[in-house]
């Protein structure tokens, strides 16, 4: 009786080894066949495509509807989840029968560089490439569709209102600054990447933040909630959710610090495994078209297109390609500074 566990463990080990040898697809079957790209026929699009996205439901719905109005025969199936879940699902699918997504839309450039490294994406040039700013272009497999500005959110009762990023290390804000963790949130990683690459900030600035008793939380939404509740006076967050909270009555102000809000992009790419690459590219093209960008603007998102200026403050942005190469090193440095 008491040997049950040992027996069971032994059995399971045995089964494990057999299962491993018979079920692991092996590296050779993992690389996806290049999709057919011979068709250049224009509208109307048909069939169905599968979209994996981290963009919020209402914006996705509006975008899909706008495209469907033009192509009634097209069916778009949406899997919407945080970037982490999308990554895990892609990693799982890659190892069991291939990636099921045709289009991936929403994650940040660093995540997309990861997809690109794993050869999940296919090369594709949008019809409206001239409208995509150079700093928002990926490795000709993915492109920025929207800007997610990283800004400062400030409680209305704060005794000291910061006006520039360096103010976060100001002693008057000691213990009063909160930011999203770069290991959890793209906004946090964008912020860290910008500081890291910028002369006058670099990792020294991260040390200064730590010395000023700044605090990391998981997501930019938590930052907004904490600043609104008055738990902290100042936070680093995403423009969109901060404005939404302010509009509903949270006692916060949104500040675009000097030299400008940090631009993180919500990118789009077509998968190498896509079985309906024509429609998939058409979807991606549509998001970058004037109509698609208009849909984003209608959802109070900042379109990437040069036709939709962001107002008086210019965005700053890290060099994503350079950052992608040093991401691990950067995060390790960050963690030795910030995690006790």
């Amino acid at each position: 009786m008491r040997c049950t566990f040992v027996l069971a463990a032994a059995t399971s080990l045995l089964l494990l080894t057999t299962a491993c040898s018979s079920h692991d697809p092996g590296p050779s079957t993992r690389t996806a066949a290049p999709a057919a790209t011979n068709s250049t026929s224009p509208a109307p699009l048909t069939g169905n495509i599968s979209l994996y996205t981290s963009i919020e439901q209402s914006t996705v719905d509006a975008m899909v509807q706008a495209l469907k109005n033009k192509h009634q025969g097209l069916d778009v199936q949406v899997f919407r989840a945080p970037t982490g879940q999308i990554n895990a699902r892609l990693a799982g699918e890659q190892r069991s029968g291939g990636v099921a997504a045709d289009v991936i839309w929403g994650p940040d450039p660093l995540t997309f560089y990861g997809y690109d490294d794993q050869k999940l994406l296919q090369a594709w040039t949008p019809a409206h490439i001239d409208k995509v700013p150079v700093e928002a272009r990926g490795d000709d497999t993915f492109w920025g569709t929207a800007v997610l500005p990283v800004i400062l959110v400030v409680n209305k009762n704060t005794p000291f209102t910061p006006t520039k990023w360096t103010d976060l290390a100001d002693p008057r804000l000691r213990g009063q600054v909160e930011f999203p963790s770069p290991t959890f949130a793209a906004s946090g990683l964008g912020m860290l990447g910008y500081f890291f690459q910028q002369a006058g900030y670099t990792m020294d600035f991260v040390h200064k933040l730590k010395d000023n008793a700044a605090v990391q939380v998981d997501s930019p939404d938590t930052v907004v909630a904490d600043v609104a509740a008055g738990r902290k006076q100042v936070g680093v967050a995403l423009d969109f959710s901060a404005r939404q909270a302010a509009a509903k009555g949270s006692p916060i102000d949104v500040i675009a610090p000097d030299p400008g809000p940090i631009a993180v992009y919500g990118d789009i790419g077509v998968t190498a495994n896509s079985k309906n690459a024509v429609s998939a590219k058409a979807f991606a093209d549509f998001v970058l078209s004037d109509d698609g960008q208009q849909v984003l603007a209608g959802q109070k998102r900042q379109p990437v297109s040069a036709d939709f200026p962001s107002g008086d403050k210019k965005f700053v942005t890290p060099d994503w390609a350079a950052l992608a190469k040093r991401k691990q090193e950067l995060l390790d440095d960050y963690q030795t500074i910030f995690i006790s």
Binding site: Q57, R89, Y113, T183, D218
Partner: protein
Amino acid sequence: MKRLATALIVTAVTLLVVLPLAHLVAVGSEGGWHAVSDLLTRPRTNRALTHTLEVSLAATALSVVIGTAAALATETSAVPARRAVRLSLLLPLVVPQFVGAFGWQQAYGERGITDQLLGITMPGLLGPTGIIGVLTVSNIPLAYLVTASALATRADPQLERAARSAGANAWTTFRTITLPLLRRPLAAAAALAFVRCADAFAIPAVLGTPVGFSTLTTVIYQDLTLSSTAQRFTEAVLLALLLVVVVTLAALVSAPLARTAHLDWTLAPGPGRTPQRGGRIIATVLWTYFALTVGTPLLVLVLTSLTPAVGVTPVPANWSTGNFTLALTGPTARALGNSLLLATAATIGLLLLGGLLTWVDRLRSITLLTFALPGSVVAVAVLLAYGRWLGGTLLIILIAYLTKLWPLAHRPIRSAADRLAPESTHAARISGAGPLTTLTTIVLPTLRPAVIAAGALVFLTVLHEVTISTLLYGPRSQTLAVALLNLQQLGQIGAAAALSVMLTALTLAIATPLLLRRGTWP
């Protein structure tokens, strides 16, 4: 008959546990031994592992002690309004863990209700103390349920009475009679609680991240978030397997404790238990505990759901139902249907599997292995094993639930079955009853409280589950969790709170009649 059952169990274990685990091992070995040793020696891994062990051990010990004490208090003494007290003790089960963590923070944290009204905050809420506290509260019902149902199905309390009349004092009676009787169910409850603590994610994420306190689950989540590189994905899977090893060791350590002292069950049944004095005091203590740990955080949640935005004072003048409207727009109705369907199917499936496993009594420790995996990793494992054929269907989500929650159904049934006197089934068989008659007339009535408890546990867990379904759902299989996550990710904390309030109310509506009904408890 038994051979068929054994074959079924072996098949189920292979399909639900071994095959998914095998796929994980395959992924984990992608980087070779070098990657494994590199990961294991990294300070980040060691820190997370140590934190996980500390927090889980402390919360397990606390929840088992408090849960047992509470069960003994409500089941062996005359507590006024016993059914209501029981219900209040079980209430943390209907509160999803992330709601618990959020509620505590809003209630006792900086700028929380007590801070604003009285200037009091709970010291150490952010960090290990707070995590242990909330984990303890969320696991007390488990120890309580297991102990209470074991007390209900145990041989009658004449042993205790005999001890008392032979001159033993209350403590000696407890130590020499009651505790040995409870040892096995308690070991089972402790094992379950430990695993639930070790694989909890929401609580350490909310209360640990701000102070840089990481556990294995939060580190795994970080790795998955950054897993657009193959290396990070492999690391996440390896860390999850490390968690499995930890739990396996814990199961091995607790195994000797689970051995029951052999006791004579042949005493004739007697009348009900003697009420003890102090029922009123016990009730007061329990109600205070309930008000502080569950009542206030839930109340805060309700207030949050009624407030249009964070930072707006939650006074009636500012109340609005906007969050509820928002929570109900979109695919919430279909999601509710899917969640109820999944919860029902998983409950039926797991009760059958749990019952079968109790009867066959082989391979049971293996089912703990997948129970130990964090939800996100179970989802990945099931996707690796079955995604090819079942990707995006409700069935694959159901398989993941069966994989993850089997012990949750099996343990309570098993610990009650241990209390079943073999003589009664023998007597039935000798008197000419067939196996089916014996099952329906002797075994099932005795096990009923445990089966109901197990069913309720599984049903509520599935209804609250957030990570598995958000990773596996497809176009027609959204669950409530998907809807909830949509709202949370949008920063709609109020709407998320509104949905949680409705979810909690729904589970309460389902669970209350069940728990208050005469006959559920003897």
